[in-house]
């Protein structure tokens, strides 16, 4: 593993650009030079929009020159997962079915990033339609892990994770349906946040599983992740699931510490119970993180959240069911690519058959089956009841604890092709799925290294809208990891 050079942080860049110490153009060119140097090897991006980015950076410098404040992310180079709609810029979901499609509108999170002064440098690679945990399912080829190019960067937001880890962008955004931000963050040594469901608008995020999807940031530091979250969070009338509550800012609490906080290590996710396959180094680092928090004044003990062991099962019925419905819209009629046929139905089928990759087809079929008459109660209906059990178990745990702790991924970054069997790949999501089912926030923070010197991610979980508590703990872990 090559030791990465320290990268400029998003918060430093924004402070320097706002004070006139550096120009947005300088910052951008520095990042584009890193892209020119390594992108052909890493393949983090589906498209780099250097020209648009240069125009945007110049506009920000012009704002500064005329005394205006471009916003809290002034001049920060940002990469966006290629399932976030961007006006006039190809948005593919790394699928052949959308290859070449240019959305006529920006997603709300994208608009908010522009309003905050960010400079979008490109759209990042993902597992097709965000279905996967390694970015190997992209129709345009895999992304390599910048820390060890023989390994995957995780997924599905592997391109966004790699872009930040490689220094292509100071900040990036992904979407997390079952761990698609947190797991790649863990595998690339970056910080990744899945915010509370409903805090970041899903308007313009191409839907995979609507009751689980949430946009969040990747960053090299906890403070950058906080700044990224604050830039995109907030109520949006265009998303009917957007929560109206005023959100608490997290940045003012980054140095609050954890003195007196009650932190529970989730027994079921520590590798010695029913759930297997955890690498010993990952468990050891998670315990070391718990010890570091105790040393910082937190009250740390173990807590049982029994139903999390059923999370994977429930998720792999609920998410494909929602996906089978959401992806019905790709029928060759209104957008994307078409394969023609003798009649409309033949055209629909030919288009979908040619346009979707194997994993997407697998999940569409799984969902179609789980929702079909006669099987609905046995599969989808039961899975939704399990979802309730998980929410109830978390609620009980949070009676005694402020936040919970677990590994993010059961393993460090793994070699390409190592998990070609779908069920084996799905097990990567064991620790991250419960938070999507409950809608609650969770963050992955790098903490030490595991097998082959690759980074380990520790996950912090909090009750609904508990981002402030998450970030307090994350900041302490980051300090202890120096």
């Amino acid at each position: 593993m090559s030791k990465p050079a320290p990268k400029p942080t998003a918060t430093d860049i924004a402070a320097q650009v706002r004070s006139g110490e550096r120009t947005a153009v300088e910052v951008l060119e520095e990042h584009l030079a890193v892209v020119a140097d390594r992108e052909s090897e890493i393949h983090a991006f589906n498209v780099v929009i250097a020209d648009e980015a240069r125009e945007r950076a110049s506009a920000i410098d012009a704002q500064i020159a005329s005394g205006e404040d471009p916003g809290p992310l002034a001049g920060v180079p940002v990469a966006l997962k290629d399932n976030m709609c961007t006006t006039g810029i190809p948005t593919t979901c790394s699928s052949k079915i959308l290859d070449g499609w240019k959305p006529p509108y920006n997603g709300t999170a994208v608009d908010k990033l522009y309003e905050a002064g960010a400079v979008v440098v490109g759209k990042t690679n993902l597992d097709e339609f965000a279905m996967g945990s390694s970015t190997e399912n992209s129709a345009f080829g895999p992304t390599l892990n910048p820390l060890d190019t023989s390994c995957v960067p995780g997924g599905s937001s592997g391109g966004s994770a790699a872009a930040v880890a490689a220094g292509f962008a100071a900040l990036s955004f992904g979407s997390d349906t079952g761990g698609s931000i947190r797991q790649p963050a863990a595998l690339t040594g970056t910080v990744g946040l899945k915010p509370s469901y409903g805090t970041v608008s899903r308007y313009g995020l191409i839907a995979f599983a609507s009751s689980l999807d949430q946009i969040g940031p990747f960053a090299n530091t906890v403070a950058d992740a906080a700044a990224g979250f604050e830039a995109v969070a907030g109520h949006d009338p265009r998303d009917s699931t957007s929560i109206p509550e005023q959100l608490r800012p997290v940045t003012p609490h980054l140095s609050d510490g954890v003195d007196g906080m009650r932190i529970g290590v989730i027994t079921e996710l520590m590798g010695d119970g029913e759930l297997k396959g955890f690498e010993p180094e990952v468990i050891a680092q998670t315990r070391a993180a718990a010890d570091a928090l105790a040393a910082a004044g937190a009250k740390v003990s173990e807590v049982s959240v029994p139903s999390v062991v059923y999370g994977l099962t429930a998720y792999y019925l609920i998410a494909p069911s929602e996906a089978s419905s959401n992806l019905a819209r790709y029928d060759g009629v209104r957008y994307g690519n078409r394969v023609t046929g003798v009649n409309t139905a033949a055209m629909n089928t030919a288009t979908r058959t040619a346009g979707f990759g194997a994993e997407v087809k697998r999940r569409i079929m799984l969902g179609t089956y789980a929702l079909s008459a006669g099987y609905y109660d046995a599969f989808y209906g039961k899975a939704q009841r399990v979802r309730t059990l998980i929410i109830d178990d978390f609620a009980r745990a949070y009676e005694d604890f402020d936040v919970l702790l677990s590994p993010t991924s059961p393993c460090v970054a793994f070699p390409f092709g190592a998990k070609s069997d779908p069920m084996t790949m799905y097990l990567n999501d064991t620790c991250t799925i419960p938070s999507n089912l409950s809608g609650q926030p969770a963050i992955s923070v790098p903490f030490g290294t595991g097998d082959r010197g690759l980074p380990v991610g520790v996950q912090i979980l909090a009750p609904m809208l508990g981002e402030v508590e998450l970030f307090k703990v994350a900041a302490v872990l980051e300090g202890a990891n120096q």
Binding site: V309, V342, T344, M347, R362, L366, K382, T388, Y426
Partner: protein, 107 residues
């Protein structure tokens, strides 16, 4: 219809489900997908250990209610430019409409 998760998925059922999802599978794909989907569904057997009779289903992390707004045209609803941009991204159009092959016939 069988109403339990213990039912084993066979090749014909996978082909039928693919048809419902408007997908066509080759023989090789049926050979691959049938055991893979079977293995994933077998995992669902886990839930048989749970007593879920008195547990309400969760459809959504938040209890959802209808979100209403006044029925007025939004300022940013988009005019002819947006329409043109949408149509420009469509596979086939005619007279400002999406065009598809004949709905009937051809089978």
């Amino acid at each position: 219809m069988v109403d339990d998760a213990a039912h084993e998925l066979d090749r014909d059922e996978v082909a039928k489900v693919a048809g419902l999802a408007m997908l066509e599978l080759t023989d090789e794909e049926l050979d691959t997908f049938t055991p893979q989907l079977g293995a994933i569904l077998a995992h669902a057997q886990d839930m048989e250990n749970l007593d879920l009779a008195d547990v309400a289903p969760t459809h959504h992390p938040y209890p959802l209610v209808n979100v209403m707004r006044p029925d007025v045209v939004a300022e940013d609803a988009g005019g002819p430019e947006l329409r043109d941009a949408v149509l420009a991204a469509a596979p086939d159009v005619e007279d400002n409409r999406f065009k598809v092959p004949p709905a009937l016939g051809g089978d």
